[in-house]
């Protein structure tokens, strides 16, 4: 019984991985791909691990610990990726409106030009 329940939970996790993969193909730019890539893989991994824990109850504590680490670290990595992508947004050609982060960067946007004038 626990075997079947755990397998079903893992299957739901795998479905979220599938949705994430479809999202990576369908979404138009880097940020929206990151949206599907982060959220769906986080819940997918957590459900997968919990499913294994339900199938083998002596591993449940370990898989819950792993799920906690994934929930803590996955958003941090996506934050770093999103920030790097925003630095290269002109080359990536992402449609962002409004773009509050670019609007708040007058110093960074004008600094290279001033440096050129200075030279």
């Amino acid at each position: 019984m626990a075997e079947i329940l755990g397998a079903c939970i893992s299957l739901v996790g795998a479905v979220f991985f599938l949705l994430s993969a479809i999202g990576l193909l369908r979404m138009p730019d880097a940020f929206t791909r990151m949206q599907t890539g982060t959220k769906a893989t986080t819940l997918g991994s957590i459900l997968f691990l919990i499913g294994i824990g339900v199938m083998r109850p002596d591993y449940l504590g370990r898989t819950v610990l792993l799920a906690g680490f994934i929930a803590l670290t996955n958003p941090v990595s996506s934050n770093a990726l999103a920030r790097a992508a925003h630095g290269f947004r002109k080359r990536l050609g992402a449609r962002l409106e409004p773009d509050a982060l670019a609007a708040d960067e007058p110093i960074a946007a004008s600094a290279p030009q001033e440096a050129e004038h200075g030279d």
Partner: protein, 165 residues
Amino acid sequence: MKALKARFLVFLALWGAWLVLTAPWSGEEAIAGAAAALLVAVLPFFPASPLCDLRLGPKPLAYSVAFGFVFLKALVLSNLDVAFRVLHPRLPIAPGIVKVKTALKTPLGRLLLANAITLTPGTITVETRGEDLYIHWIKVAAADPEGATEAIVSQFEKYLEVICG
């Protein structure tokens, strides 16, 4: 006093992780793990642990549990949201980056808030600068900072303010 609290929390976190990893418990293993965790906590490896921002006591503890549930609910909702958008034939997105303000002061509180925002429906934290957070929103519903703060931040902030304001 604050350093002592940080060391105590590091000890608790390490020993808790050890106990969970060595799941069928035996007394010797637990004592060995406690000794190792104590050693790591006392030696000056973590001079400024962000864990010292956590508040201790019954009310913050209750709010942490509540925050856990709110977070899980947001995680499930965000996945259903992703599923809806990915499978929708017309791909209903209107992405943009909005600025929101947080009242949280501590680094740990801001980290937890940024992580929680990343895993809520349609939002990813792109950058944090002081009290401003820049959020990529897959369908921008409110471009002004006040409306966006109300929609994105406030649901977590009321818990995090009590846990590690």
